[in-house]
């Protein structure tokens, strides 16, 4: 059983393990294993030097940050000054970030060491990890299968223990989907909780940056580092930092109302549901109250999501004209990226706005209303993360079949609520993740349920 995040942190703080050693062994493992997994696009040449600086602080008895010496992978759509935020695309393959994203500033302030830029689906347009211009990523927990996407590299790196924590992004499930397929922990925070300054857009009203880790403690730790009010952008919740790790000291689920919906069984592979149901029983045993909730319009969310995200992605990619940096996106991008740009361009035309874009925004109202109503009766909603098992790498599937992976994850993005994933078991050796959805700013409850399942696991 590999070492937990907090245990390792304690060893680094206590001087038992140096940050430099931690970085060196990560680099060694990456060197050894990543050629086959392909979870990193670029490594940080300064990682060792940064780690040594942290070690010096520790030796001098100075205060070090929450993430002291831990190695952190960053998804390639987040700006890290001096490294390439390629978005796994030929459009930005040589784009060296001229600035740090806000979350990177916060990680650095807490002495986390950025070990490198993770592979991903190109411009986050995917749910499999196969569309990167730098080659597909393998699933270390189910070799030969997709790791999921679009935060494919981050999830794979955690699964293979190549680094301690990863930053992913989630627009329609892109943290949760790979967390499920790779058997690890991931969380999409409440929309507006984590600053997006420096995140290269997929869908501006949907994107959130969030943690991927081997354990719930790691997710809580990374979340509290990056979350909370920022003066450096407009769309943010005006909330203080919350110490989620502290709140996780509360372990009991007694009295917690946990929602389940038969809609999930309707949409999901029975083998997956069996594993999920097993976990729900555990929750019952732990003293939680299981309540049925109604989510009659849940599956309508999928197509509405794809219309909205296409319009926003079209808008966000207009800057990739090749003049200031990179190349003109339409000239060099992959199929799915082009598909979304063309779709977005089409439906945002003046004459179609009402029929498509605005109508999709109405469906969003519906999905949101339903979920928020459910939270009047329950504290969290649990269920499967994906409706079907991950396919084998290279399997030819249609775009619609690919989109279908997202049925259960897009509703949380449309509603702006938070949702986390923790491993629930396996089907034919392939990991299955259980999704815990919470209300706006409901991360403490979500994490608590995830922690309980992890402990019971």
């Amino acid at each position: 059983m590999a070492e937990g995040t907090l245990a390792k942190l304690a060893r680094i703080r206590g001087g038992e393990l140096s940050a430099a050693e931690n970085v060196a062994s990560a680099l060694e493992r990456i060197q050894e294993l990543d050629r086959r997994i392909n979870s990193f696009i670029e490594l940080n040449p300064n990682a060792l030097a940064e780690a040594e600086a942290v070690d010096r602080k520790i030796k001098r008895g100075e205060r070090v940050g929450k993430l002291a010496g831990l190695t952190i992978g960053v998804k390639s759509n987040i700006n890290v000054a001096g490294l390439r935020a390629t978005c796994a695309s030929r459009t930005l393959q040589n784009y060296v970030s001229p600035y740090d994203a806000e979350v990177i500033k916060r990680i650095r302030a807490e002495d986390g060491i950025i070990i490198g830029m993770n592979n991903m689906d190109e411009f986050a347009c995917g749910s499999s990890g196969e569309t990167s211009a730098f080659g597909p990523t393998d699933n270390p927990a189910a070799p030969g299968h997709i790791p999921g996407g679009s935060s494919s590299g981050g999830a794979a790196a955690i699964a293979a223990r190549l680094c301690d924590l990863c930053l992913g992004t989630d627009t329609g499930g892109s943290i949760r989907n790979p967390a499920s397929h790779c058997g690890i922990v991931g969380l999409k925070p409440t929309y507006g909780l984590v600053p997006r300054q420096g995140l290269i857009d997929l869908g501006m009203s949907l994107d959130q940056i969030g943690p991927l880790s081997a354990d719930v403690a790691g997710t809580a730790l990374l979340l509290e580092t990056i979350a909370g009010r920022s003066d450096n952008e407009c769309i943010m919740l005006n909330v203080d930092r919350v110490n989620y790790s502290e709140l996780l000291r509360e372990k009991s689920l007694k009295g917690m109302r946990i929602g389940i919906s038969e809609k999930f069984s309707e949409l999901t592979d029975p083998a997956i549901m069996k594993v999920i149901d097993g976990q729900i029983e555990k929750l019952r045993d732990l003293g939680a109250e299981i309540v049925e909730v109604d989510l009659p319009n849940l599956e309508r969310g999928l197509s509405a999501y794809y219309l909205i995200v296409s319009v926003e992605f079209f808008s966000g990619t207009r800057k990739f004209d090749g003049r200031k940096y990179g190349r003109r996106i339409e000239d060099v991008c992959g199929e799915e990226v082009l598909r979304r740009i063309l779709r977005g361009r089409y439906i945002s035309q003046k004459e179609y706005r009402g029929k498509f874009y605005q109508r999709a925004l109405q469906v969003r109202t519906l999905v949101r209303r339903e979920l928020l109503a459910a939270f009047e009766r329950v504290d969290v909603i649990v269920g499967p993360t994906v409706p079907k098992l991950p396919h084998r790498l290279g399997t030819k599937i249609t775009p619609m079949e690919m989109y279908a992976y997202d049925y259960l994850t897009v509703p949380a993005n449309l509603a702006g609520i938070c949702a986390g994933v923790v491993n629930a078991g396996r089907v034919n050796g392939i990991p299955v993740g259980l999704q815990v959805q919470g209300r706006v700013l409901g991360e403490p409850e979500v994490l608590r349920v995830m922690q309980a399942l992890e402990a019971a696991g």
Partner: protein
Amino acid sequence: MNIKIGFEVHQQIATRRKMYCNCPTNYQDVPPNTNVCPICTGMPGAKPLPPNQRAVEAAVEIALMLGCRVYTNQTIYIQRKHYDYPDLPSGYQRTSLPLAGGGSLLGVRIREIHLEEDPGQYDPLGGNVDYNRSGIPLVEIVTEPDMKSPEEARNFLRALVRVLEYTGKVRPEAGGAMRADVNISLEGGGRVEVKNVNSIKGAYRALRYEVIRQREKLKRGLSVERETRAFLESQMVTVPMRVKETEEDYRYIPDPDIFPLILDEGWVEKIRERMAEPPHLRESRLISEYKITRAAAEVIVSERELADLYEAVAREVDPKLVAIWFRTRLKKVLNYMKLRAADIKFTPAQLAGLLRMVRDRQLTPEQGELVLRELAKHPAEPEKIIARLGLFPIKREELLPIIARAIEENQKAVEDYRSGKEEAINFLTGKVLQLTGRRADPREITRLLIEKIGKK
């Protein structure tokens, strides 16, 4: 022939920070791409900061000045207007829905007012882009096509500039702070838009060129198509722009990265209370309140500080006299010294003191003007200036001998006057004036001369 002219005026608002980032706004003073950051250069992942509050206030104030109704208690989205051009770093421009509308100026209806951001500066001939200007707040003022001639259009623009300057919240007109898209159609022809004219003079010339060009075409039986043209200032002609640069479905969407505005009525009222009185309204009030002529009022309100000075002085001295002085001698002095009213350093009390002396005949008007010039250069109490210039008015006893002397020394002129040449008296008056060191009133001199010459 029926002409319809309308404008879309873009005016830079005077703020220290840009609209969506904290970069400085002095784009003309620094090397290219210096006042820039990831936001105003459209770096991947850059998100806007909340909109500049002063810019929003300025736009509302301008709307009120133009007699518009401000759209309160309505959701006003900041939208993305998408088009492809080298000076637009993100491939879209952030532009608000209208904040106000339904105003008018000089009989021209104001259709709407909204907030925008300036793109960068693109030199199309050199192929250079400088983003220093990118992101500076703009207010856009759209008129109905109510103007019927280039002259009327020019007058409107002048009046508009005056209103904008009255707020004290816009960048001075020079150097492209104000740009206009000019629309013109002649009866029987389509609407032609001339884009990005950056001076009142340029707008006037472009319009005159267009009137001629379109009229000629229509006369020859050709049709004037709806199109967009560019104005080449150096050659004073308009030329067609290629369709690709101008065709557009802008695919507007509310910007998901900026919260919308809802303008509160109470807040708008506070702005209305605080703001300067609009110049056209002030002009009317001055005429009725102080009983001065329109000509004088027009000069007085040409600058807000000038009008402020006028009203302060008119409190102390006869407003009609003050008005005459402002229209003639003060304006002359300011023009001569290339001073704006805002640059004046002397106080209303000092000017009032001077005018009182002129009124009481302690000084001749001409002497008063000399003092005024000195006052503008080196502000001081008028009495001190008079002493310094040695401008004590001449006494009658001193004057008579000088008149006698002038008559003696200029017999020819005297003869000329006697034989009917009226101008000769002016010549003589001038001589006396010289001899008195300009310390006498010319009218008085002339009167005495005529008396004396007549006697002989």
